[in-house]
């Protein structure tokens, strides 16, 4: 972990960065609606190829240097492979890139952004290589945070340990593996609301149960990622309260679409109707989630309410199985179900979910066994779509609230060989292209609804559940809200005496 937002990939780093840095675009409280951030407003050209950001005036970095167009060009431009950037005043030199800006690369920003130019002190123009509707939402993500060029160029190697941004809190100190301390930024530009807290301490307590014990004794005030079993205990504790938020995620079961067996939609639907997802959510998610009808969460625009989702129906499942040529499972060899070895926000216990699923499948005559590897191997082998993989569990937590960030990334196998499901459907691929190239959000929503209807009809994936994120906190913490992107925002939080 580190504190240079452009180069981090893990939630713990972003949790701290969220309070030190800001991006041009911000997400609203508790949703991914886009709001002005360090840019007061923006214009998009009619052809969707040019984005002009008008920056906020009078904002200062924590080191006292002014926030301006050059800072934006510097912060974003340093991630580009070919640095087609233009500064306004001093031609800043960006130090050589020490490593890969992983988010920038995996969000395909090099294929999206062509040039970045400072037009005047408070205007920056981005010219794109292609029309990319999710671009604006991307600009609200952590990797697009604006940093102080002065602080960075002074010591590029040390910036990751001494971050300087414009956010509501300033970095003070970091004891490795122990704590990170921030303090209130008294000169914060947004005068309404916080920051109220003088000091913010992030502690690293790796064990879930120990973290919860620290909360119970009042040594910490907010406990992230508790054990699911500790939640009922927290609810009963008079000194604690629970805050929750439907997670912007999906846990799914998909098929090895490279195998002939799973190219038959009847086979896929047989599985979909055989799995009792309600029981899985009740017993394994411990009720902290909802059964999914679409592979995107209901809080996201573009969600298709008309899609009914697959109901648990063994007779229907058997009928589909017979239609596929395997009545009562006769003639079907034993299949494998790959189960995740690690808990993820979208699936608290992969192995238990897997066991529940194979017992469901046995009820319609399908014999299945569980396969699991350590996480790194699982991800790697899954990508290879080997013959010994029939069904696999995976999931996704959204980055930016754009449906493209779920639907294209997860299911458009025609777009790239790195799409994990490798489902290849011409019509779906066209929907995805259309969605990317349409800038008007209402029109995009219609396109994604059609894509979701197609997913329901073709069943390339069985959406299992959207989990609910729950944090126990002490009663005296006020106004703490969870965010769908899992970002931790302490600006408007205060403590009651």
């Amino acid at each position: 972990m580190g504190l240079d937002p452009a180069y981090e990939t893990d939630g713990n780093s972003f949790m701290v960065c969220d309070n030190i840095f800001e991006a041009l675009v911000a997400y609203a409280d508790e949703s991914t609606q886009l709001e002005p951030g360090l840019a007061e407003s923006w214009d998009i050209s009619a052809d969707g190829m040019t984005y002009t950001f008008h920056l906020r005036k009078g904002v200062k970095f924590h080191d006292g240097t002014p926030f301006n167009a050059d800072a934006v060009v510097f912060s974003i431009g340093r991630m580009m492979k070919e640095r087609k950037v233009k500064f306004l005043n001093q031609p800043l030199t960006i130090p050589a890139q020490e490593r890969t800006p992983e988010y920038w690369v995996s969000m395909e920003m090099d294929n999206t952004v062509d040039t970045i130019e400072a037009i005047d002190d408070y205007t920056v123009v981005f010219k794109l290589k292609r029309v990319e509707a999710p671009f604006l939402a991307n600009m609200g993500m952590d990797f697009a945070d604006i940093i102080s060029p002065t602080a960075f160029t002074k010591n590029p190697k040390e910036f990751v340990r001494n971050p300087v941004g414009t956010g509501p809190f300033k970095f003070v100190s970091w004891v490795k593996d122990d704590r990170i301390i921030l303090e209130k930024n008294k000169d914060y530009w947004d005068k309404k609301g916080g920051p109220y807290l003088d000091k913010l301490i992030f502690r690293s307590i790796p064990e879930n149960s120990v973290r919860f014990l620290e909360l119970k004794t009042g040594n910490i005030n907010i406990c992230q990622y508790p054990n699911p079993a500790d939640i009922p205990m927290a609810a009963k504790d008079k000194k604690l309260k629970l805050v929750s938020q439907p997670g912007m995620n999906i846990g799914y079961l998909s098929f090895n679409h490279t195998k002939k067996l799973w190219q038959d939609a009847s086979m896929r639907k047989a599985i979909a109707h055989a799995i009792n997802r309600e029981a899985i959510v009740d017993n394994i998610y411990q009720g902290m989630g909802q059964v999914a009808s679409n592979p995107i969460p209901p809080t996201m625009w573009g969600y298709n309410k008309e899609v009914p989702g697959f109901k648990y129906d063994l007779d229907l499942a058997k009928a589909y199985l017979a239609k596929a040529g395997f009545p009562e499972g006769k003639g079907l060899p034993e299949i494998t179900l790959w189960s995740m070895p690690v808990p993820r926000p979208y699936n608290p216990e992969g192995l238990k979910v897997g066991v529940a699923m194979i017992s469901d499948l046995s009820k319609i005559g399908i014999k299945a066994k569980i396969v699991s590897y350590d996480w790194g191997t699982y991800l790697k082998r899954q990508r290879e779509q080997p013959d010994d993989m029939d069904l696999f569990q995976l999931g996704w937590t959204g980055d930016n609230g754009d449906p493209d960030n779920f639907l294209a990334v997860l299911f458009d196998g025609l777009a790239s060989s790195s799409i994990r499901t490798q489902w290849k459907n011409e019509q779906y691929h066209n929907y995805m292209l259309e969605g990317k190239q349409t800038v008007d959000q209402a029109k995009r929503a219609e396109i994604y609804k059609k894509a979701l209807q197609l997913i329901y009809e073709e069943c390339p994936v069985i959406s299992i559940a959207h989990s609910t994120v729950i944090s126990p906190i002490t009663k005296n913490v006020m106004n703490y809200k969870l965010h769908p992107t899992a970002s931790v925002r302490m600006k408007d939080v205060w403590m009651q005496k």
């Binding site: 992983e102 301390i181 120990v210 620290e214 991800l379 790195s418 994990r420």
Partner: protein, 334 residues
Amino acid sequence: MPAYILRRFLILIPTLLGVSIIVFMMLRLTPGDPAELLLGERATESALQEVREHLGLNEPLHVQYGLFLKRLMKGDLGETIWTRQKVWIEVKQRFPATIELSLVALCISCFFGVLFGIVSATRQYSLFDYLSMLGALAGVSMPIFWLGLVFMLIFSLNLGWLPISGRLDVHINLEVITNFYILDAVLTRNWEALRDVIWHIIMPAVTLSTIPTAIVARMTRSSMLEVLRQDYIKTAKAKGLSNFKVIFKHALRNALIPVVTTIGLQFGILMGGAILTETIFAWPGVGKWMYDAVMQRDYMVIQGGTLFIATIFVVINLFVDVLYAVINPRISVK
């Protein structure tokens, strides 16, 4: 004697080289890809390639090992994958915490282990002997993880005597000089911090010391029993010396020779046991760091960290052997 020490010292080089090869090969043979773990579910093929390229993972194994060795000759352990800092700097930041914890645990083990061992030996087959040996058996077989949590429940949550986790209360400022907090608190005359640091170290140190205490107690007991059967002890007793004098002046010195070796070995083992203890007690030392590195396949950290721990381990062993030779001069002749 100097020849003996030199010979023992030279053996360290092939030993450590062996360790580095084994660790390197084991890491590369275990499945799991740091690039996949770094990028998680979102990894695209191009992003993975770029990361692997950057980390030098695309090179053939012997080239990677050669590079590692070449850097090692210059005293450079490489750079971590996750935090991009010199492994050496990261080790330096965390090692004092582990040493401090291990030393306190070792003191506890020595004191109680030797004490219980002596008392058990002198009262062989007494109730105390049975109870303490039963306790030793329990101590060896107790899972550290479970024990740590039980201690927390009793001493922190219910009784409220000791802090649950960490090295120092977040509200206390301590000027860090050596990173050994006890030493730093004394150097800066910060008595409030000293009290708090000691308060924090008790529970993890006691947890960590259970196994070595048990081992030292058993070792002391059996070694003491053997010595007590020797003729010169009988002579001493016959001369009318008090029991206390016989045990502490005549028997103990000889009985402790094998115990010293055991204690030396225990110190190395303590640092291994620190992985679990540090993880439960959120103790920012090498153990927890290595644990995270294994989970994240941070090759550089695992290689560098293991080599560092191995070095400490063999150096302590060397030290113990020399000490042994000093106590018992017959050893060095061979």
